[in-house]
Each structure stands twice: as C-alpha cells, then as structure tokens.
Symmetry: C2
Subunit: 231 residues, 2 copies
Amino acid sequence: MPVKGEITKPQQRREQAREAIRQEILAASRLIITREGFGALTMRKLAQHVGYSPAAIYLHFRNRDEIAQDVSRSGYAELLAALSSAVDASPGDAVSRLRALCAAYVRFGLENPQTYSLIFMEDPAYLAAVLAQQAADDPGARAYALLIDSAEALIAAGHKLPKVGKPPRAATAVEFAETIWASLHGIVSLKVICPAFPTSSAEVLMPIMVESLLGSTTTAPAAENGSQRKR
Amino acid sequence: MPVKGEITKPQQRREQAREAIRQEILAASRLIITREGFGALTMRKLAQHVGYSPAAIYLHFRNRDEIAQDVSRSGYAELLAALSSAVDASPGDAVSRLRALCAAYVRFGLENPQTYSLIFMEDPAYLAAVLAQQAADDPGARAYALLIDSAEALIAAGHKLPKVGKPPRAATAVEFAETIWASLHGIVSLKVICPAFPTSSAEVLMPIMVESLLGSTTTAPAAENGSQRKR
DNA sequence: GTCTATAGGCTGATAGAC
DNA sequence: GTCTATCAGCCTATAGAC
C-alpha cells in the first residue's frame, strides 16, 4: 500500500515487488541455513521453499555466493544486535562491559551455531569482505569496532595492557581486543563443530580466559598492590 | 625384498603388496589434501594421482571417509611429533615446557593449515572419534594427554590454577588445559581460514594469551608477592 | 585383481518457450 | 517474469568384462 500523498508510478510498484521477492528468498535462505547449515543451501531446495523454479532465483540474485553474502551480512547484524544490547545493559565500568560483551559473544555463537559457522568458519570470502570494506555501516565492521572500543575504554579507565614483544612494550588496544576475540572464537568454534570435545563447558572455559586476560591488565592509579608477574 | 631368514609365503607377499598400495593411496591423499584441502580429495582425482581407476580405490578402502580417517590419524601423529619434540627440547621447568608446547602447537597449525583444518575444523566425526576411542596409542589422544600432563606438572610444581565458578574453586588441570587449547585453536583457526583477519600476527596474540593464562596461576611456595587480582 | 562402463545421484547455472 | 528442459559437471559406488 503506497504512502498517502506519494505518487506511485508503475516503475516503483515493480521495484517494490522485486524487493519483496528478494527478501522472501533471503528469509527462506536464512531458515534453511539456520536449520541445516550453509552446505544444505542449494538453489533447488531454495526454489522449492519459496515456490519458484530454480531458474527464477537467478532473476533476483546473480549466484549462490551473492545470497550467501547477504545472509552472512544479516548474520553479522544479529551478532551486532546481541553484542550491543549486552553492552547497553551492563553497568558503566569498562571491565563489566567487557565481561558482558564476552559473555554475549559466546552465548550468540552457541545459540546460533549455523549462523556463527557461516560468518566465521566457512569460506574466508565473507570474513575477508567484512574487513576489506571499511564502510562504517557494515554490521560486521561495527561489531568489530565495538570490541576495539571496549579495549580502548579499558585503557581510558586507567588499565595498563599486558606487555608483549622484545623489547617489551604494552599491547595496543587492537592487539588486546583481537586476543580476546580469538580466545572466544576458539571456544565457540570448537563447541560448534564438536559439542562433546572440549569436555569442559563453555561456561567454565570462558571465565578462565576472560578473567586471566583482564587480570593481566594492571590498574595504574591504585598501585597499592602492584601485581606485575614479571620483570 | 624379504628379510633374510624369514620365510615369505605367497600369502605374506600378497599382504605386503596390498599394504604397499594402501600406503601409496594414503600418501597421494595426504599430498592432495595438504595442497588443495580436504574438499579437493575426490576418488577420481585420487585414482588419477596413483595411476589406478576410481574403482580400484574401493578395493583398498571402504569409502572416502575411511581414507579421511586414516589421513586424519596421520595428521594427529604429525601434530603429536611436533609437540613431543618441542616438549623434549625445552628446559625442565613446567612453565617453560608449557610455553614451548603452545608455541609448537600454533606453529604446527600455521605451517600445516590444510592438515590442521582437516583434523580440527572439518567434519566433527574425526574429532569426536579421537575422544571417543580412549585407546592410549591413538596419536590424537596422546597429543591431548600431553597438554593435560603439562597442566598437571604446573600444579605439581606448586602453581595454583585460577579460580572459577560460584562458589569459587580452583580450576582442574583438564579445565585449565582445555582453556589453553581453545585459546590457541582460536588463533590458529582464524588465521587458517582467513590469514588477513585478526590483523595482529599470531606471534603477538599467542604470547598475550599464554602469559595471561600463566600469570593467572599463583605460585604457592613463594607467597611474598601474592598477586590475587580479585576477592 | 584390476579394469571399463555405468548407474544414479547431486550440483550451479543457462537457453529458449510461453 | 516465470517456466520447462537441459547443459556440463561433479560425486560415490557398483556390476561385470578381462
């Protein structure tokens, strides 16, 4: 139904219809992927799901990869939403927010294994594309930025990041944030691919990681109990 | 050529020939996988490589999965060898050995991305099978045990593992070891699937992780500088 | 034992009728 | 625009000739 007062040319109506079908196809793709994984997304199955012939899909998407990219993008958007709301709901201090962020990340991965697998464990193209396109509105880039910002907030709050390299220097916010991310990804990806294997639960592994990493930072203002463990 | 003094019956000779062909097929499989990845291992390509027809492969292996299992097993053996030699070459103290183990693990993964991918990032069957079969001679189980042992050596050397859970209790050796493993896996798997993405190099990320985790342990005997960071 | 030939299935993608 | 029909290729696995 056109908005009152707007002129709806036949062209526009057609455009809207096209977009609606596109979204319908994407919704079906997401459903198939979250249920059976990316490998199960075939053009035939997808066409059957939306009630078209396989050939019709190609009128709206160039190929299977373009669909995967779009679904991937919405997967990053879901992740971003989960992380954002966790950050917003947490208390004000930097440490608490970082803890909340980590917990939300792991929870998202475990609750959406197929989506997580698609966006972080499948073809590198989707992952690389996120980094390559520095568009600030990309949900993947924004999720990444959320983590970096949290590490910077830690520094701003007076925490000193752990030393690294020879000669030793303080780790940068990006290095520290990526260390956290890689650690969390290790838990999630192992659990996603083989739920039984790390015999300990993510609820046990994650706090050990996060608290160790947070513990490796030292607070500058309150130097009463300096906990440097080396040099 | 039979060993001098042994009686080589026709039966034995045939057995040896069969085994030789089996090994030849496995060698070709490893070559294909390390070059092009597990996905590129097809019966046709494999047959072409060893100079047989596709059908001939089925005389020596039940199916593709059996080949994958065998290659996977040898992958675990390679990993075990890399870890063992690193442990043997390191100084005696528990901390140094754990550091050496971690460095060797990451190095192995980065130097053998396709093998690493096969044994830790593909079909869960291979990973689960290693855990399921508690056979002590399985290379995968032995590599796992090597890590657990290192964590236990840390305890034996007087280190207290970090607290976890509510109410807080000290983490077990298995929990601590699996935390280390998951962290390292996070680095390697991200780098393997998308070398460009964690923008920091593994050489930077890995020490931050390992030193943080080691730093979260406290040495009991020398309690002069207790570095509890909480409670 | 090893081969050729082939069954029977799947895939992504396209040409051309309506 | 949407369809049917099909291409060209891949796959695992097997039957039966030599």
